[in-house]
């Protein structure tokens, strides 16, 4: 018994975890009966279904005739884009739009093919101007612009 498709195995595991997780979390809400479905009913049914589907997908990883192309996550862009986004989230309230944009742009630029400091700097300035003009003055969104 050889795992021929790692992708299917991982997908199956993820589905199983989500399905079982939702069903398990739902246990603290009342189920009710079919005629009067409680808040737990639909989620439990769906959760169990998803868990079963997860198992089926995982089984498929063994029984499939030929594996699909190898699994390759794009780690560098993934982590850097996520980091940039989370940094943006963290900086917006205390430090304002301009700084948050800076963090986002630099981190995400690092995640890209070629990182050029001056280009990125220029992009930051241009975007900061554009976004402040568009979102703060144009659309009057209540964003803090500077850290003060």
């Amino acid at each position: 018994m050889r795992v021929r498709s790692l992708k299917d195995l991982y997908a199956g595991i993820i589905f199983f975890v989500f399905g079982a997780g939702f069903a398990w979390l739902a246990r603290e809400y009342p189920m009710g009966r079919l005629a009067r479905m409680g808040p737990a009913y639909f989620p439990t049914v769906l959760g169990v279904t998803l868990a079963v589907l997860g198992v089926l997908v995982a089984i498929r990883s063994i029984t499939i005739e030929e594996g699909a192309s190898p699994l390759r996550l794009y780690w560098k862009p993934l982590l850097l884009v996520m980091a940039g986004t989370c940094l943006f989230a963290a900086f917006m309230a205390p430090l304002g739009l301009v700084v948050s944009l800076g963090g986002l742009i630099f981190l995400s630029a690092l995640g890209g093919p070629e990182f050029r400091v001056r280009c990125t700097l220029g992009l930051w300035i241009a975007l900061a101007v554009l976004c402040v003009a568009l979102f703060v003055y144009g659309l009057k969104l209540p964003f803090k612009v500077w850290p003060l």
Binding site: D8, P43, L46, V57, V81, C86, L97, S108, C131
Partner: protein, 500 residues
């Protein structure tokens, strides 16, 4: 007939007000722009603009978003023809004969063909929507919760069928989407579910967060990881107008593409992309000399381009009349309507006729604008292609983050978007389609409501779904579709079609 004319008159009245005209223009231009640029598509763009639509009047917002969608179909063909780069998935087939024509010095003719074919398709599709929508809405008004539930089930099943990759995984994605949609307050019982004590989650996961994460951020990550360099060769475009011979050869393809596209657009699934592929195959099979294809056959441009535009527009029908999104773009449009406080469904036609007919009329206006504007602006679009992606994607990312943050000024939303970006990337790499998840997410809470009500009315009798004729018909159709896909013969054909 008179009714139809009255409705269309109302529609045009709404669509041609200066402000809506401007929004239509903005949408169409933006759509063309993102259609031209690879790496960003209508789904991500509409997701990004959703927060802005808060502040706009409902009709204007929807007109603009619609313009983005069908504008992208026009834009995609421009780069497909000129630079052999499909800006949109639906333009991939246009690359084949379109770029061949460019190499023969007939780029102008190809572009004009694409534009004219698309315009024709757009006009026909608009008429179809105008005629078909009221009929459908009339039927749907008789629907009870049983019928709605079965219909949504059918919509989800059909979306699974037409998704790429394994059906099993697509179904799992749908179920996952349904579950994620249930996070938040259960309207009927008032319980907050799956919120982990985080107040931000008590209202549920915001739709924009899921859409931007799955389609905007994940798309950027996917593109960044691929180390392809884009070669942009700026070609000179002369001789725009097709000759009489060209017209003679293309009109059949345009008709066929339009017909096929209109039909396929209504079905859930790939809409524009699937239609363009199917149209190419159809036109090739019906041509007198199939060997011309791939070498600059004008039908190879006319057919798919008409099809994808027709499909883009008719895909509005299920969304506007039944409240069922046939693809992810329509799911976002429903999101936009919900943001405006409009509950999508058959009653939209009667409760907000100016919205409904205004949108339909604006589609025609938008098509006209696109034909008139695109041909002169081609040089502009091509030069935009020269902007390196590394300048583009941080900007897109910035707009995504700002957009999400502007929903509630809550950083948790932005972090969740990052998480959905992770999910989107991981799932795409595991060969699981994210679009069914989005559809499930939108329909989840609604399906639960309808199921609950149906069970309440029937006092727990599950056979009610089989006893109501319309519901039964839809369930049988769902089962048939699922069986069809499992049958190996059909499955290999489907895989073949996707591999091309």
């Amino acid at each position: 007939m008179m009714d139809l004319l009255n409705h269309l008159a109302l529609g045009f009245q709404v669509a041609l007000t200066p402000i809506n005209f401007l929004y239509c223009l903005a949408g169409s231009l933006m759509g063309t722009l993102i259609g031209v640029l690879p790496g960003i598509g209508p789904t991500a763009t509409i997701a990004m603009l959703l927060p802005i639509t808060f502040n706009l009047p409902a009709v204007s917002a929807l007109i603009m978003l619609a313009g983005i969608y069908y504008g992208a179909q026009y834009g995609g063909s421009t780069t497909a023809i000129l630079v052999n780069l499909p800006g949109e998935a639906s333009s991939v087939v246009t690359c084949l004969d379109g770029h061949a024509m460019q190499r023969q010095g007939r780029a102008g003719v190809a572009l004009a063909t694409a534009a004219l074919g698309s315009f024709f398709a757009g006009c026909v599709a608009t008429v179809i929507i105008a005629m078909l929508a009221p009929l459908l809405a009339g039927v749907a008004l008789k629907f009870g919760p049983t019928e709605y539930f079965s219909m949504m089930l059918l919509g989800l099943v059909a979306a699974v069928i037409l998704a790429h990759g394994s059906v099993l995984k697509a179904v799992a994605m749908v179920v996952l989407g349904l579950l994620l949609g249930l996070v938040g307050t259960d309207v009927t019982s008032g319980t907050t579910r799956f919120d982990f004590g985080i107040p931000a989650l008590s209202d549920g996961i915001d739709f924009v967060v899921v859409a931007m994460g799955l389609f905007g951020i994940a798309e950027i990550i996917n593109t960044l990881g691929q180390k392809e360099e884009r070669e942009v060769v700026a070609a000179k475009v002369t001789g725009l107008w097709p000759s009489k011979d060209d017209f003679r050869m293309m009109w059949k393809a345009v008709f066929r593409g339009t017909a096929l596209g209109s039909a396929l657009g209504i079905l859930p699934g790939g809409a524009a992309t699937l239609s363009s592929f199917a149209a190419y195959i159809l036109v090739q099979k019906l041509a007198k000399d199939p060997s011309r294809f791939g070498k600059g056959a004008i039908e190879g441009v006319a057919g798919p381009e008409s099809a994808n535009n027709a499909a883009a527009q008719t895909s509005f029908i299920p969304m506007l009349t039944l409240g069922i999104p046939p693809n992810s773009v329509m799911a976002l449009m429903i999101g936009a309507m919900m943001i405006q406080g409009i509950a999508p469904g058959p009653q939209v036609m009667t409760s907000r006729p100016e919205l409904f007919w205004g949108m339909i009329a604006s589609m025609w206006v938008g098509n006209l604008m696109l034909v008139v504007l695109n041909l002169p602006l081609i040089g502009l679009w091509v030069s935009l292609l020269k902007v390196p992606y590394r300048m583009l994607y941080p900007s897109i990312l910035a707009f995504c983050c700002i957009g999400v943050y502007s929903l509630n000024n809550n950083p948790v939303d932005v972090v969740m978007t990052a998480f959905f970006g992770l999910m989107g990337h991981v799932f795409t790499k595991l060969d699981c389609e994210p679009a069914p998840l989005l559809l499930g997410f939108i329909l989840g809470p609604m399906m639960e409501e309808y199921l609950r009500r149906a069970m309440l009315l029937s006092r727990g009798d599950a056979t009610v779904f089989l006893r109501h004729p319309i519901s039964l018909a839809m369930l049988i159709l769902s089962a048939l579709l699922l069986l069809l896909i499992i049958a190996p013969a059909i499955r290999s054909k489907r895989d073949e079609a996707f591999q091309e």
